[in-house]
């Protein structure tokens, strides 16, 4: 088992790439930087593949496979080893991350070709890969936290990559600080976890948790608290309500970054975490409910915002938020498999969408406003077709990747919580609407820009090839689950089953709604029926409805949207301004905070108290010195006289003692 014994290699490769590029790459030719960056990532991918090969040969009792490399910190009972673990969940994440990552690296070589700080960009990307893989491979929550914060750092660095652009800088700060708020809860969660289980290793925690009685809706305990705290972190990281605000702004970063970090991988970390911690969540129904509600709400809410955005990347950003909402919804209703599945497919098609958007922007020479595009279909066919496929995928058109995952989620929701299911359903419709709106505005209709100013051109091959590959995946990436429709088994679910089933065994009964659905529960009735049932399920119908609506609005009657906007002006502006959330936050949190820190902390505490104390003591010393100084005439003989006085005093004392003795 060479690879399984040396999991660290997977981490070492991107790290090495980052180090080499970051430290030495400054004056290297682009080709050298490329070879280092792409080489390291693709090697990591190959390493992962080898890992998978070996993992599949493992006997079931050796899963999860944990390797401890060195003791990291030890403080009394608090012991943390640098340990990595591999199980099916990890495998899925690893494959997704490394593969998509590799593609996006390749894409970036084209997209960033004319940018400054080339080596910097790639070393950041590699660093991000390193941290993301750490997060995924971690065998205990502290190491996971390292990855967690690391990806946060990288996203900050990459959002603010164009550090001369004020908006980029502030966006980076916003992202970092907002996620920090979540991480605050996460950290407390970790501490509480250790305080409860006296360990941070997933294995120990879960086996202990399995022993604990499940908490119910009525009486919530420590588990619920822990889960909610951890989920706060997830909310921050995965841009859920109410902490989603950073993600749209994060679009200030280069598009590949948006694709990799803010669509495919990092933002899904929260979902991964929740899935990873499912033994705890499964025993905390209240937490589960919260997760579900937040997920569904986010899905719907951001979808509505997505409807009216005009910036192509912003639309995608909000759709990302809502898709993440879906994933949490899935987790919340206990369909972890579905969540992870959607995570993977989403990684494919959303990554693809972003890359396409990037390609479009590239073609338009930096233009991001959809209203200034249109009719690009002919000019950039490859981009068009791939994006089209991706759009189908996200809209859940049967046969495409998104269909399967989204379908599973909604199905699970339907079984557990009807209102949420409804919300999700509407969101699905909205999704397909705004996505096609995007497509129509961008590629169809007549050109809204001046041919001679903007010279539209298809992207170079190193950008288009990743698009094609991802498009392929966005079609077939979901077919693992296909057999279920014809009554077969869902391979994906079957693959992940041991993970999510493992701790259910000892789990007490009476909480089925919180656990993953046993495999193939739906496989009653004949295959054909199932197929029909599936293809005509409400999600599909709603999705198609959305598409039609979009077609009606933006192809058939292009004037309609404006009138609609005027007719219900208030609502429109409200949505257009994202419900004024940013403004509200600014008013409620940011300004008071600023005011307090300026007037109280700075002027009062710092200047008044601290500086006052320091200066005061200094002044005191100076005053006393000034007084004592008269005594120090500088005349050696008077000093001597003082010494004599002292000597006489001592002598007299001794004499006195001596006389007392005698």
């Amino acid at each position: 088992m060479p690879m399984l014994d040396h999991l660290w290699i997977i981490l070492a490769l991107p790290l090495a790439g980052a180090a080499i590029n970051g430290l030495l790459g400054k004056n290297w030719p682009k080709s050298a930087v490329n070879s280092v960056a792409i080489g390291s990532v693709s090697l990591a991918f190959l390493a992962v593949v080898e890992t998978v090969r070996e993992f599949l040969q493992l006997p079931a009792n050796q899963v999860p496979w944990v390797r401890t490399y060195f003791p990291w910190m030890t403080a009394g009972p608090f012991k943390v080893n640098f340990a990595l673990q591999v199980d099916q969940l990890t495998i899925v994440m690893l494959l997704t991350v490394t593969f998509v990552g590799t593609l996006i690296h390749i894409y970036s070589t084209g997209y960033m070709a004319h940018e400054g700080g080339y080596y910097r960009f790639f070393s950041y990307l590699n660093l991000f890969m390193f941290f993301m893989l750490t997060l995924v491979l971690a065998a205990n929550i502290v190491v996971m936290f390292v990855g967690w914060e690391g990806v946060g750092l990288c996203s900050y660095l990459l959002i603010g990559f164009w550090f001369l652009k004020q908006s980029a800088i502030s966006a980076g700060k916003k992202a970092f600080i907002t996620t920090r708020i979540g991480d605050f809860g996460f950290t407390i969660g970790i501490l509480l976890l250790f305080w409860t289980f006296h360990s941070v290793d997933f294995g120990t925690i879960f086996s202990q948790a399995a022993g604990m009685p499940s908490e119910t809706m009525t009486q919530a305990g420590v588990l619920t608290t822990i889960c909610i705290l951890l989920f706060t972190g997830a909310v921050g990281k995965s841009a859920q309500l109410p902490l989603y605000v950073w993600l749209p702004d994060a679009m200030e970063g280069p598009t590949p970054v948006s694709a990799l970090i803010h669509a495919a991988t990092m933002v899904t970390a929260g979902v991964y975490m929740v899935a990873r911690m499912h033994p705890l969540f499964s025993r905390a129904p209240i937490a589960m409910l919260i997760v579900a509600i937040v997920g569904a709400a986010t899905a719907f809410y951001s979808a509505t915002i997505g409807l009216v955005q005009t910036d192509i990347k912003k639309v995608l950003a909000y759709s990302t938020v809502s898709q993440l909402g879906y994933m949490f919804l899935a987790c919340g209703v206990g369909a972890y498999t579905a969540g992870i599945f959607h995570l993977m497919t989403h990684a494919f098609f959303k990554g693809l969408l972003f890359l396409c958007a990037g390609s479009v922007i590239h073609a338009m020479g930096g233009e991001q406003d959809m209203r200034k595009m249109g009719g690009l279909r002919k000019a950039i066919p490859v981009t068009f077709w791939t994006m089209f496929i991706a759009t189908f995928a996200i809209s859940g058109v049967p046969g495409f990747a998104g269909f399967f995952s989204k379908d599973e989620i909604l199905e699970a929701a339907q079984h557990s919580n009807a209102p949420l299911w409804l919300l999700g359903l509407v969101a699905a419709g909205l999704t397909s609407f705004y996505m096609f709106r995007l497509i129509f505005l961008t590629f169809f209709g007549k050109q809204q820009f001046d041919e001679h100013k903007v010279h539209v051109h298809e992207s170079p091959r190193n950008m288009t090839i990743p698009l094609i590959i991802l498009a392929f995946l966005s079609i077939f990436g979901g077919w693992f689950a296909a057999p279920k429709l014809v009554g077969g088994t869902d391979h994906f679910e079957a693959f992940l089953h041991p993970v999510f089933a493992s701790y259910q065994m000892q789990a007490t009964a009476g909480q089925e709604e919180a656990t993953a659905r046993p495999v193939g529960e739906e496989s009653a009735g004949t295959p054909a029926m199932d197929l029909v049932h599936a293809f005509t399920g409400p999600p599909v119908i709603v999705g198609l409805l959305g598409i039609l609506l979009a077609w009606w609005f933006y192809i058939r009657r292009p004037d309609l949207p404006k009138r609609l906007a005027q007719s219900m002006y208030g609502l429109y502006t409200l949505v257009l301004h994202k419900y004024y959330v940013d403004e509200i936050y600014a008013a409620v949190i940011v300004r008071p905070l600023l005011w307090i820190s300026t007037n109280v902390l700075w002027h009062t505490v710092d200047e008044g108290l601290i500086d006052g104390t320091v200066n005061g003591s200094a002044r005191l010393a100076r005053e006393t010195g000034g007084k004592l100084r008269e005594l120090q005439s500088g005349n050696a003989r008077s000093y001597a006289s003082w010494v004599v006085v002292g000597a006489v005093g001592v002598t007299a004392l001794l004499l006195g003692i001596w006389m007392k003795v005698h």
């Binding site: 003989r637 006289s641 004599v644 004499l655």
Partner: protein, 171 residues
Amino acid sequence: MSVPFILFFVFAFVAVGGAIMLILAREPIHSALSLVLVMVALAALYLLLGAEFISAVQVIVYAGAVMVLFVFVIMLLNAGVEERTNFSHMAKYAGLPLAIFLLFGLAHWMAHSAIGATVANGAGAPSQAAVSTRALSTMLFQKYLFPFEATSILILIAILGALVLAKKGTE
């Protein structure tokens, strides 16, 4: 009156006289010479106390090196008669009287204190045998080795300091 007493008193008077001369002389070089006188007398007293090595060292280092250095500096700076200037009040009203008081007080105490008496006629009736240099050196290089080394370093530092200061002064 036996020989040691005679010798003691002779050298004691030489020493005290030298000290007084040091105070009264107005030429620094005279003070220096009177101090040399004191030192030599003390060396003789050490001999009387049987500390041959110490007395030799006293003469070599103190009289032969340190005081020569003093004389040398005096000659170099050609320090003349010290001019009379008024005392600092401190020195005048506190320093001198107290110093003189200290002189007599100490002397009186020493004379009548238990230390002198007991030692003179009792516990440590001093043996006549001279202290062997060998024993002294053994002690110095075993019991007091570390202080010894420390002192050597101190001397090195002193040399460097003197060099630096003197150079700065003369340029």
